[in-house]
């Protein structure tokens, strides 16, 4: 196609235009909100409500990884760490809240022979403080790790390996029973959420709706970000960091900022996940789980936000179904999916959409 024709057909580039011209993300945001309304109106079976809520938190986690991997070229194999920080702080809040209301100490406190929760749990029964602490802690850990890595220009596979080591170290730490965070059994038996009994259908629906609304907000927010001038710098940094630096931009600051944002989004996913499953333990810090997040994103399609959601929902939906139907086959199916994506669909399942001719107005969107 000649340049002149394309120029006439393509609307002028601009942040707002770009955000609107992403029908995939717009559709997914609408779908999340529609499902949330559907849950409130139709009240389906508790199992389905819970599954949808969990899928939404996995999708948030996948979007957080796609933000740094797809748009900055930073592959984190340790995003489970930030998810776990959110999850652990949320669990601490739920247990503190339970103690404040019922007066019964959690199992692990009794098991360790302590009288009460350790001092650093103070104040965590306040939900606002717990929320701020979870996000701030994830942001701080990401900041320190990111500062050390990006300043010394640790990139590519080296960064991935170090991020993997970080999550592994955190797992070893959390397996210790004397940390006051539940040790190898983790934390469970949350009695109440904001004063409501945890097992009630209303709480399950509320949590699932909150997760879906959060997913919609995260998708819309990240899409606006990547469509802005900052997003164009991110893409520029991903494709040629030296070129961007020699044009006067501090790529360290750019990467650090987005990296911390991504960690906080992952922590948000963890916060929403833990009350829905009712447990957190050091298993969420296992390296293979962090690798799996990257698999979701790769299967769905890297660098399009919507692809991350599709990948996370598809893989985890399959996992929910198959881990009950034929649990021993799951690792083989997951590996098979990865092989298909690597060999046939290098840009993930969204390649399937690209295989048929696209209307002109879609051509330029990535």
């Amino acid at each position: 196609m000649s340049g002149a024709v394309q120029t006439v057909l393509a609307p002028p580039a601009g942040p707002a235009r770009r955000a609107v011209r992403d029908p995939l993300v717009a559709g997914l945001v609408g779908l999340c909100l529609a499902v949330a309304v559907g849950l409130l109106v139709a009240r389906p079976a508790p199992y389905l409500v819970n599954a949808l809520g969990q899928l939404a938190t996995f999708a948030i986690l996948a979007v957080s990884l796609d933000l740094v991997w797809g748009y900055l070229g930073i592959l984190s194999l340790g995003h489970g760490l930030f998810f776990a920080i959110g999850g652990y702080v949320c669990a601490m809040h739920l247990l503190s809240h339970g103690v404040a209301v019922t007066g019964v100490q959690p199992d692990f406190v009794q098991f360790m022979g302590w009288k009460s929760l350790p001092a650093y749990w103070a104040g965590l029964d306040h939900p606002a403080y717990a929320l701020v602490l979870a996000l701030a802690l994830a942001g701080l850990v990401a900041f320190l790790f990111g500062l050390a890595s990006f300043r010394s220009r640790v990139n590519g596979v080296y960064f991935s390996i170090i991020s993997q080591a970080l999550v592994y170290v955190a797992m070893l730490l959390m397996y210790r029973n004397d940390t006051g965070l539940g040790g190898n059994n983790g934390m469970t038996g949350f009695p109440l959420l904001f004063g409501w009994p945890m097992g009630s259908p209303g709480v399950a629906t509320g949590l699932a709706v909150a997760a879906l609304v959060a997913l919609a907000a995260v998708l819309a927010g990240t899409r606006l970000l990547v469509g802005s001038a900052v997003g164009r710098r991110m893409i520029a940094c991903r494709d040629d960091e030296t070129r961007l630096r020699t044009l006067g931009y501090s790529t360290t600051r750019l990467k650090l900022g987005i990296w911390c944002l991504s960690a906080m989004i992952a922590a948000l996913a963890g916060i929403l996940y833990v009350p829905q499953v009712g447990i957190i333990n050091p298993r969420v810090l296992a390296p293979d789980l962090s690798i799996e997040i990257a698999v979701w994103v790769a299967i769905g399609g890297l660098g399009r936000l919507g692809g991350a959601v599709i990948g996370a929902v598809l893989v985890n939906g399959l996992k929910f179904w198959l881990s009950t139907a034929m649990p021993e086959a799951w690792p083989f199916i997951l590996s098979g999916l990865v092989l298909v994506v690597v060999l046939v669909l290098p840009n993930g399942l969204l390649d399937l959409v690209a295989l048929r001719p696209r209307p002109n107005w879609l051509r330029r969107s990535r």
Partner: protein, 236 residues
């Protein structure tokens, strides 16, 4: 006035000395060509000026005050230095216009960018291609876009690393005209090139590097009749 003064610059990679005490001064308003056989240290020289490589010793002064060897790449760029790389380095996933927008640099306010981008689009002749993804441009168009990106910041020192490599004769002539048009009293331009006709068309003076040392400095005409230069270029 901000010219470039390089004093006794030495760069080593392990035991290999890429630059060995090179001194060089480019005046404001001057177009200087650096020529020399492969491995002479030309690209290393640009790497040091743009902050990608740090020297063992020596200074690179921009104007009277700023020693570039102590600054990061981004600080050097913000001081008014821009470099066009040998391999056309544009951002392939962004449009021509978006590439130029980033090229303006972080200091230019958003309101002033549109006018500057429009004028650069005219200078590099890519106005009809402004909303094309840069990855779809031809090799020559990418070269011009990258020149446009470094131009958009209105640099005081422009470094061009083989701007006509891989271009057709017609494109080379167009690029020479473009670079002549970039000459300004307050701008120093340093260009590395193998194409002697191109050098003759754009450069005021040439510096010949050989094995990390300055072999000759002066007019291209003089270089062509210098016995040492002839020996290096034609072989022993």
């Amino acid at each position: 006035m901000t010219g470039l003064v390089i004093e006794a610059l030495t760069v080593a990679f392990g035991r290999f000395t890429a630059l060995d005490g090179v001194s060089l001064a480019v005046d404001p308003g001057e177009v200087r060509a650096v020529i020399g056989p492969n491995g002479a240290g030309k690209t290393t020289l640009l790497d040091v000026i743009s902050g990608i490589t740090k020297p063992v010793s020596g200074r690179v002064m921009l104007g009277d005050r700023i020693d570039l060897t102590t600054r990061s790449e981004a600080e050097i760029a913000r001081a008014g230095v821009r470099r066009k790389f040998q391999k056309p380095s544009v951002f392939p996933a962004l449009t021509v216009r978006e590439n130029l927008e980033i090229g303006c640099g972080p200091a230019v306010p958003a309101g002033a960018r549109a006018a500057r981008i429009a004028s650069v689009l005219g200078e590099i002749g890519l106005r009809p291609r402004a909303d094309i993804i840069a990855g779809r441009l031809s090799h020559g168009e990418k070269q011009w876009l990258e020149i446009g990106m470094v131009l958009a910041a209105e640099p005081a020192l422009l470094l061009l690393d083989e701007p006509v490599a891989g271009l057709s004769d017609a494109e080379t002539a167009q690029t020479a005209a473009l670079i002549r048009a970039l000459r300004r009293p307050d701008r120093a331009i340093l260009v590395i090139e193998h194409d002697m006709d191109f050098v003759e068309a754009v450069a005021d003076r040439v510096t010949v590097l050989h094995e990390g040392r300055t072999l000759y400095e002066g007019s291209l005409h003089g270089a062509r009749s210098d016995a040492r230069v002839i020996e290096v270029f034609l072989g022993r």
